[in-house]
Structures are given as C-alpha cells and as structure tokens.
C-alpha cells in the first residue's frame, strides 16, 4: 500500500494541518496572557478581545479592502479592552478575575452589537503562503498552506521569551509579577507596568481574533470563537507561563482538534463525541501527568491572585 493512501498518513497530515490552521488564535491569546500574567495580573476577559478583534478586523477589511489593516485594527481594539481592564484593576480592592469576566461579557457584547451588519457581506481575506509545493502530495500541500500570522505568532513567542530572559524591561515585568514590594523598592511603577502588560496582551489577543475572521474559518459570526479565548487562557497555566511552551501547547491543541473530523473522514466513525473532545481530554491528561506541584508553583508568578 502506498504511503500517501494509508489511513494513518491521512490522519497525521490532518493533524499537522490542524495544528497549523487552528493553533494561531490560541497562540496569540496564550502569549498575550502570558505577558499579562507575568506582570502579576490575570485577564480572563481575553475571549472578549478575541471576539471583538475578529469583528473589528472583518469590518475594517470590509470597509477598506485591506485585510492587514483589519489585523492592526483588531490589535487596537484589544489595546482598548486591555487598557480598561488594566486601569480598573489598578483601583484599590478591585479583583482582576471579576473584572476579567465582566470584560469578557463587555467585549463579546460590543462585538455582537456592532458586528450585526457584517455577518453577511464578504470581506477580503488574508492570503496564505503555499509552502508545500515541493512535496508533490496534494494533502500535504494543502496542510502547508500557511498564513503569515502563524509565523508572526511564533516570532512573537520567541521574542517574548528572550524579552523575559535577557532584557531589563523583561526583568521589570517579572519582578512586578513575582513581588510587587520588591518592584516598588526598585522604583518601578507597578500599576503602570501592569497596565502596559495588560494592554499589550490585549493587543495580541485582538490580533488572534483577526485570524479567525480573516483567514480560518474566514467569516464573522457570533458563534465564531466558541470559547477559544477562554481555553487559551487555560493553556497559559498548562504552559507554565513560558512563551515557548505556549507554542507547543497551541500546536498540541490544534492538532488534537483535527482528530475528530479526520477519524470520521477515514471511516472510523464510532465514538465521534469522544474524538471531538480529544483536545480537552489530552490537555487534562498532560496537565495531570506533568504537574509537579512544587516546581509548577515555583514557575507561577507570585503576585497572581490564583496563586496567593
């Protein structure tokens, strides 16, 4: 039997394609949340950024005809939500988790309200780069049609890892997240660092939303995200606040999401509910098996309200 005809090959190619196509929004939201949490705040509202970003990107692309402008506008809408979250949480005795939930409702509500006229009309979408032509195998070519945002996401994650490890500002963010009194002793304006970190994280989550509406699946509607923003926030804990691990977590999640449709496509149709739940089952399994409570507690920023 030819390799390319085998069922296993089909599933593996589908998982590779799924990892590349589906992971990008998870990656952007997770890396953005990673930055915010490193500064000592949790922003649970990134689902709102994702949905609002998707809507704003689609609307901008529709009106201007320029999808990359839509990506930028989505990021700006994310900054807007991030600034609100960051500023509110800087007020005394305000809980960041509660504000995050409110921001999630606010962001999605805003997107639904202003997004109504954009559900039907077609907008120009982002292009993809065909990187699989050398393989000569149609399914692989298809899987390797990659959107530039995918590479941008990986670059941002690598850059952020370097930023945390080797730059003065990275140290400031980490110190703010681990011990606010220590940061204050260094003369750092803790609230300002956190507001900027939340706004930047919001920017990335907004850009992640633009991928959904402008590339895959490539249209705007109210059910577009179906909870991906929330899942991405959970992935940050899964990735133990490390941007590089966020990349692997997003890949894994995207690949696992392709298992359900791919199995049914090759004729393994029994138990599709189970296969469709694969990403969540896999995440729980790896989380449980990799959890070393002491070491993971060391990796968690000390100022996070869930850690305290």
């Amino acid at each position: 039997m030819d390799l390319t005809d085998s069922a296993l090959f089909t599933v593996l190619v589908a998982m590779l394609g799924g990892a590349i196509r589906v992971s990008t929004p998870f990656l952007f939201v997770a890396v953005g949340e990673c930055l915010t949490e490193k500064s000592g705040r949790i922003n649970l509202g990134l689902e709102g950024n994702l949905v609002l970003g998707a809507m704003v990107a689609y609307a901008t692309s529709f009106h201007t005809g320029e999808p990359w402008l839509g990506v930028l506008a989505a990021g700006v809408s994310g900054i807007f939500l991030g600034l609100i979250h960051g500023t509110l949480c800087s007020l005394p005795r305000v809980n960041d988790i509660a504000v995050g939930i409110a921001m999630m409702a606010f962001g999605t509500g805003l997107a639904f309200y202003f997004g109504r006229p954009y559900i039907q009309p077609p907008a120009p979408l982002l292009p993809s780069i065909p990187l699989g032509n050398w393989t000569g195998i149609p399914s692989l070519q298809r899987a390797l049609e990659i959107n530039p945002l995918f590479f941008v996401g990986i670059a941002v994650a690598l850059l952020m890892s370097w930023f945390f490890r080797s730059t003065r500002w990275g140290l400031i963010v980490r110190t703010t997240g681990d011990s606010a009194p220590a940061a204050k002793a260094m003369g750092v304006n803790v609230d300002l660092v956190r507001i900027l970190a939340t706004a930047s994280g919001g920017f990335l989550a907004g850009v992640g939303g633009s991928f959904l509406s402008l590339y895959y699946p490539g249209s705007w509607n109210e059910g577009l995200s179906s909870g991906q923003g929330l899942m991405a926030v959970a992935l940050v804990i899964f990735a133990r606040w490390d941007p590089i691990r966020c990349i692997w977590a997003a890949f894994l999640f995207g690949a696992a999401g392709a298992i359900g449709p791919a199995f049914q496509a090759i004729g393994i149709t029994q138990g599709f509910y189970f296969f469709n739940a694969a990403p969540y089952i896999l995440t729980l399994f790896i989380l449980a098996s990799s959890a070393r409570s002491r070491s993971s507690a060391r990796e968690a920023p000390g100022e996070l309200s869930i850690v305290k």
């Binding site: 699946p217 109210e222 059910g223 049914q264 599709f272 469709n276």
Partner: protein, 368 residues
C-alpha cells in the same frame, strides 16, 4: 444606609408599577383587534441559516395589514426565553408567540402556555402532543428532507465521483432524515453514490465545521452539504477548495458563485400566513401544521453554476414528483449495519419517520 436602600427599592416598585399600568391596558386593547405576533430566535436573524429562514418569513407577514411583528434574536434555550416571551405578552400585547428553537418547548413554552391561556403559542418542531400539552400550544414543521432529497438528485448528477460529503451537527432524527434523503436522492440517479458523514457535535462550531469540510474534501468528496445552524463556513470552504456544494436552511447561492448546485430551504411564510389569515377570520389557529413540497412549505434554492444541465432536469422532475406526494422512503431499505429498517413505501409525512435513528446503507458514518 437604610434610607438609601429604602428609596432605591421604592423607586423600583413605583417605576415597575408605572410600566405595568401603562403597558397592560394598551396591550389588551390592541389584542382584541389586531394580530401581534412575537417570534423568538436562538441566533442572529442574518445567519444564512435557520434563524434567517424564519426572519425572512416574518418580514413577509409584517406587510399584512393589521399585523404587528415583534422579534428578539440571540435568546438562549434557558429561562431567558421565558422572560423574553413574557415581556412580549405583558409589555407589547402579543397574542401569538412563535418559539423557533428546539429547546424552547420543554419546559419554557409549556409553562407559559399554562400561565397565559389567552395567548397562542406555536413551536417549530413536531413536539406537541394533544394528550400531554396545553390546548393553546402547538407545533409547526416543514419536512426539509424533501428539499434535501432534491439536493441529492442534483448532487448525484453534478458530482463526477458520486461521493458527497455531509457535515452534520448532532445525530437527531431530523438531521438523520436529511442525510438519508440526500443519499436516496443521489442513488435515484447514481446507484453507486455515497454520502460521507462528519458530526461536529454542536449546532454552531465554525472552526470545527471548517476542519470537517476540509477533511471531507481531502477524503475525496467533490460535493459538500451540511446540516448546521449557519452553513456559511461549509459552503465557503467548499468553494475555496474548488468543489461543489448544496445549501441548507436559507439561500447560500451568493456564497459560492462557481460551485453552488442548489439548496434546501424552508418556506415558513406559508405557515405564518396561514396563522395570520386564521386570526383575521376569527378562527382558531390549528394546533399542528406540517408539510413539505405538496403544500408549499419547502423549496429549493435556484440552481447555481455547479449544477449540470442533467442535474437541473432531474431535480425539477423530483420536485414535481414530491408535489404529487410520491414517497422518498420506499422499502425494502437497509441501514449501514445491514438491518432491514424500512420494509414498505412510507408516506413522506409518516409519523414513524419522525423517530428516525438509523443511517441508510451508502452513508459512511455512525450515530454513536
């Protein structure tokens, strides 16, 4: 502190009483003369799908003199639907309420029908049972599988390989009947045709629908169709992959300028007109209205560029046959595990078909 709380509460009480006093007599006075019909949708009115099909029909009866249309979108299948229906009745004087989502019926619409015996409630799924449910409640339903059968006929003659891909939400009887009807339609013109099935697990999961559509094309299907709330993603993915597509629920004609064959559409306006006419004539609204092609309750989208000439002809003939009540399910039919499931010709509206729990031989898929 105590004073603040007292004044806030009394303000709320006063304003609530004021709203009630202003609204109630007004609503009642209007209700005696005119039809105030309220429709509640689970999603957006412009979803290219189920909700849009209802909203388009409501727009038609909006123009009937003496009819006021109330609408609310994005109402989940929770207590929220009871609240929005109650406010349509109490504040806007609605005398007919249409619930268009499956989960609205039990318990929400049953409870409301008991509480408001003067208001007529109708629900868009064949669930009402005279023995168990209030008399001012009822069901209406269009058997869309007839239009899916026509999709199958057109797809069977437009597909070079005879492999049709189907993206479905959940394995419930209505969905299964649509899948089986596509197969029977396709097999009526191409005995070798198959339907390959992927269940996504829920009504609206755009990313997974795109993954499923891509997986079906990768598996060699060259026509895609679907039964999900918003078919846009499946139809657009098919178009981008260069394969043909058949629509579902509402018209997706414009979404696929190259590959669109035809689509299965509801014609709810026939039912809503019937309600408006009965109300205007002072007659009781029928408790159960069901139908298909023979009484003008379903239709097919105009043929697109993906439909071959032979497909158009055969589909037109299939529509004519359905208008004459010719049956779709003609036994003996076997399911895809080899069991005999239908042993005789079944009437297209036979209630036994409402409980369908099998996939016919030729469907590659499983309901568990």
């Amino acid at each position: 502190m105590v004073r603040t709380r007292f004044s806030r509460r009394s303000l709320l009480q006063t304003s609530a009483a004021g709203v009630a006093a202003a609204a109630l007599p007004f609503g009642r006075a209007r209700a005696q003369a005119d039809l105030v019909i309220g429709a509640v949708y689970v999603g957006s009115k412009v979803d290219f799908g189920w909700n849009q099909a209802h909203a388009v029909a409501m727009d038609v009866i909006r123009n009937v003199p003496g009819v006021t249309v109330l609408e609310e979108e994005n109402v989940p299948e929770t207590d929220a639907v009871a609240q929005s229906m109650e406010s349509m009745i109490q504040l806007d004087g609605a005398n007919v309420i249409l619930g268009t989502s499956f989960g609205y019926f039990d318990p929400f619409m049953i409870d409301l029908a008991n509480r408001f015996p003067d208001v007529q409630f109708r629900h868009a799924a064949p669930l009402w049972d005279a023995a168990r449910h209030p008399a001012n409640l009822g069901s209406y339903f269009c058997y869309l599988n007839q239009a899916h059968y026509v999709n199958g006929v057109a797809a069977g003659l437009s597909s070079p390989t005879g492999r049709i891909g189907f993206v479905a939400a959940k394995p419930i009887p209505t969905v299964l009947s649509n899948i089986n009807s596509v197969l029977l339609g396709a097999r009526s013109v191409n005995p070798e045709a198959t339907v390959q099935l992927i269940f996504t697990g829920d009504w609206s999961l755009p990313v997974r629908e795109a993954e499923a559509a891509n997986a079906l094309v990768d598996a060699g299907c060259d026509v895609l169709t679907c039964h999900v709330d918003g078919p846009r993603v499946v139809i657009e993915t098919a178009e981008r992959r260069g394969v043909r597509s058949c629509g579902h629920n509402a018209s997706q004609y414009e979404l696929a300028p190259n590959g669109f064959i035809t689509g299965a559409e509801y014609k709810w306006e026939t039912i809503y007109r019937l309600y408006a006419d009965a109300f205007a004539a002072g007659e009781a609204l029928p408790n159960v209205v069901v139908g298909g092609y023979h009484n003008d309750m379903v239709q097919n989208t105009p043929y697109g560029a993906g439909a071959t000439e032979a497909a158009r002809q055969a589909a037109d003939e299939a529509i004519a046959a359905l208008r004459n009540n010719e049956p779709i399910y003609v036994g003996p039919l076997y399911d895809n595990r080899g069991n005999l499931v239908i042993d005789r010709p079944m009437d297209n509206l036979d209630p036994e078909l409402d409980g369908m729990n099998f996939l016919l031989d030729g469907v590659i898929g499983s309901i568990t």
